[in-house]
Amino acid sequence: MNALAKKYGNKVDILAFPCNQFGHQTNEDNSEFLNTLKYVRPGNDFALAPSITVFEKTDVNGADAHPLFKWLKAAMMIPSDEMVDTKGNGVADPDALILPRGKFGGSTVVLWTPVARSDIAWNFEKFLVGPDGKPVKRYSRYFDTNLIAADIDKLL
């Protein structure tokens, strides 16, 4: 994400929404989130590129999902990645929603309701919106963020 931001500078805006709906992986307060990036993961005084805006912690799935994510998901119901299983999950990358998690006895844990077909599967799904405000493309968690450059170039 930071590499992409550095490549495009102020020509592209990147909006990051911390979300705690996937395995409770953002369990800190809003006030702690940036410090976590700076000092813990990735740490080493990590600084976000200026074109990246971080928003308050947000629900992306379920009845209380932010309207932005309801809009994005209605327009692009599943990621556009190729229908291939690159991770050996047993289902194609864009189709993989909830996977068994080793730490919890292989159980699948869903932290929102209702569960919908268009739900975001895990952290780091990406959505590209054009300079005209129209939805362009959705990418799964497995899609290399740097490769989105090919689609961004078409919009510039």
Binding site: M1, L4, K11, V12, D13, I14, L15, A16, F17, P18, C19, N20, F22, G23, Q25, T26, N27, E28, N30, F33, L34, T36, L37, V40, R41, T53, V54, F55, E56, T58, V60, H66, P67, L68, F69, K70, W71, L72, A74, A75, I120, N123, F124, E125, K126, F127, L128, V129, G130, P131, G133, K134, P135, V136, T145, I148, I152, L155, L156
Partner: protein, 72 residues
């Protein structure tokens, strides 16, 4: 077997689900789902992590990449 599927077909068409109507149904469904939201991006807003309000109209004219992130 044949009778069952014929029955299914006729009851389906009674409810407007006959194959000929499928395309029309689909386009109607897509329109309802997407059209009220199509131009909505710039009308939306969200508070930044420091609590300051921010409208997405600030992003007019530029491609925007949106992602959900986590710190762990």
């Amino acid at each position: 077997m044949l009778r069952v599927s014929l029955l299914a077909l006729s009851s389906a068409s009674a409810y407007g689900f006959a194959p000929g109507n499928a395309a029309a149904m689909r386009s109607r469904a897509v329109r309802t789902a997407v059209s009220p939201t199509m131009s909505a991006f710039y009308d939306l807003s969200a508070p930044k992590i420091d609590g300051t309000p921010s409208s997405f109209s600030a992003y007019k004219g530029k491609p925007v990449l949106i992602l959900n992130v986590a710190s762990l």
